[in-house]
């Protein structure tokens, strides 16, 4: 293999370039990035960066020295339009065609939004550095009333940051219990109570009917409020929509790469086309620990998966992925939440340390006698011990795929 094109220049794309060089690949590497920025770290975008406590420079993932050593060609501000699997060529929006021996799909995901959000000033989603800059400018201008739609982790972190800026914040969640899919019902209730602990209003079990603007026609002007499905009107100067993401796979239409809620991969991140692998948020690989064939949108996966994908790409055979529990963290309202493993519908949480009311605890989820996941709030030390004691539960394969 003499030439490799990596499509996507975020954490998973950069980690792929690093893994290629670590594993001795000395051919040419071209990285295509839709954003104009060099790879940067996204987690602070909803936290320190949004609050105004960090410069964009502090988010840089690589250094000039490292980029020199990696010796890749970076095409930033360029969008991939098409993949031709036969020629393994990637066509860019400007018409340029990149032919290579191997292609890595690392295009990530885009935020979902709600109808009527487009074209209305003051309505934001948060994914990119430019998104964060725009939202930050709105949050730091006067004392806007903020409505966050969606009480997932991104929504909760944005609400926490807006609260830290002394803004009036309301969080609206369509589900009865926030975070239920990630943490299960009881722990979803515990973690989402951080909002009310800090005086942030949390309205659950209510959908959004629409956004109200001051323009003459809908979708024009500036947002003034959020109309809920039950008829209530929440006045708002800034609205943040945090209702999840969809994998960025539109450009693969017609390529023959199998796509279904992301790029369908084997355990080695190989796709349905030889010489094409996928990593990060866009990749849907079977996970040897959880037994699930699902996309994992965690920072840690974006750093670890590329090693497996590169072994597959360079060897031409599906590599084995390490059997490690997926891991993520969330910082909100000065609380640090950490989860390792996968909480399925039938996993029962058991408190093993601390207590819920003090917001300092560790809970282990058990299924059929196995510890399959661990959740901690403000207990990093014990969390890290227990995450090493989790067992991959083969029984989960049948029940959750």
């Amino acid at each position: 293999m003499k030439s490799i094109t990596v499509v996507g220049a975020s954490l998973a794309g950069l980690s792929t370039v690093r893994a290629l060089r670590e594993q001795g690949y000395d051919g040419s590497i071209t990285v295509v990035g839709e954003e104009r920025h060099q790879p940067y770290d996204r987690p602070p975008l909803s936290k320190d960066f949004l609050r105004g406590g960090l410069d964009a420079d502090a988010l840089a993932l690589g250094s000039p020295d490292e980029y020199q050593d990696l010796a890749a060609r970076w095409l930033l501000g360029e969008r991939a339009l098409r993949l031709d699997p036969m020629a393994r060529s990637v066509t860019l929006a400007g018409g340029r065609e990149l032919r290579s021996d191997g292609v890595v799909i690392a295009t990530g995901a885009s935020p979902r939004t709600i109808p009527g959000a487009e074209g209305l000033a003051g309505v934001h989603t948060l994914r990119t550095l430019d998104d964060a800059l725009a939202l930050r400018a709105d949050l730091l201008h006067g004392l806007p009333r903020v409505v966050v739609i969606g009480a997932g982790f991104v929504g909760a972190e944005v609400a926490s940051t807006a609260h830290a800026l002394a803004l009036d914040v309301t969080v609206v969640e369509a589900a009865e219990v926030p975070l239920e899919r990630a943490l299960g019902r009881p722990m979803g209730l515990v973690c989402s109570s951080l909002h009310s602990d800090h005086g942030v209003r949390l309205l659950c079990g209510t959908g959004v009917a629409g956004l109200i603007g001051d323009g003459r026609t809908p979708g024009e002007g500036r947002v003034t409020g959020v109309r809920l499905a039950d008829g209530r009107l929440l006045p708002a100067d800034v609205v943040v929509v945090g209702v999840g993401v969809r994998p960025a796979t539109d450009w693969l239409a017609g390529s023959g790469v199998a796509v279904e809620d992301g790029v369908v991969c084997d355990t080695g991140c190989g796709t349905s086309i030889p010489g094409v692998v996928a990593v990060g948020d866009v990749a849907r690989c079977p996970n040897p620990f959880t037994g699930r064939h699902a996309r994992i949108e965690h920072w840690t996966s974006a750093t670890e998966q590329p090693r497996t994908a590169v072994r597959t790409l360079l060897s031409g055979r599906p590599a084995t992925a390490p059997t490690q529990p997926p891991y993520f963290w969330s910082d909100q309202y000065l609380a640090r939440i950490q989860l390792a493993g996968h909480v399925g519908a039938d996993a029962e949480p058991h408190l093993v340390e601390g207590d819920f009311d003090s917001r300092s605890f560790v809970a282990v989820y058990r299924r059929a006698g196995h510890s399959v996941a661990v959740l901690a709030m403000n207990q990093p030390k014990l969390f890290n011990r227990l995450r090493r004691s989790l067992t991959p539960a083969p029984a989960t394969v049948a029940s959750t795929v």
Binding site: R18, D41, P43, L61, W299, T300, W329, P380, K381, N384
Partner: protein, 106 residues
């Protein structure tokens, strides 16, 4: 010079954090009988290394799994890239004594 604790209060495998009398928090680790001291805050992002996972003379950050060599303060893997400041530790009359390094890490 700070007298931290009795040596039996920092048994092998354990860590503790010193926050008073130091310019920045310091973490002390007893790695199989040798006590090391380094800056407590991970050089990558805000996390306390005293809460980390100690294996031999390496500590893994509890947040993003950067690993540091306690002998040199240097990271052994990403995401951290900058070294931690190391501090000298001596034992006197059964007490652990911390000598805080002033200046930049090696």
């Amino acid at each position: 010079m700070i007298t931290v604790c009795r040596i039996e209060d920092l048994p092998p495998g354990e860590a503790l954090r010193v926050t008073e009398g130091v310019p920045a928090p310091v973490a002390l680790f007893n790695a199989d009988g040798t006590v090391y001291a380094v800056d407590d805050t991970c050089t990558h992002q805000d996390a306390s290394l005293a809460d980390g996972w100690l294996e031999g003379c390496f500590v893994e950050c509890p947040l993003h799994a950067s690993s540091f060599d306690l002998r040199t303060g240097r990271p052994t893997c990403l995401p951290a890239k900058q070294a931690l400041k190391t501090h000298r530790v001596t034992l006197a009359d059964g007490y652990v004594v911390l000598h805080v390094t002033v200046g930049e890490p090696a």
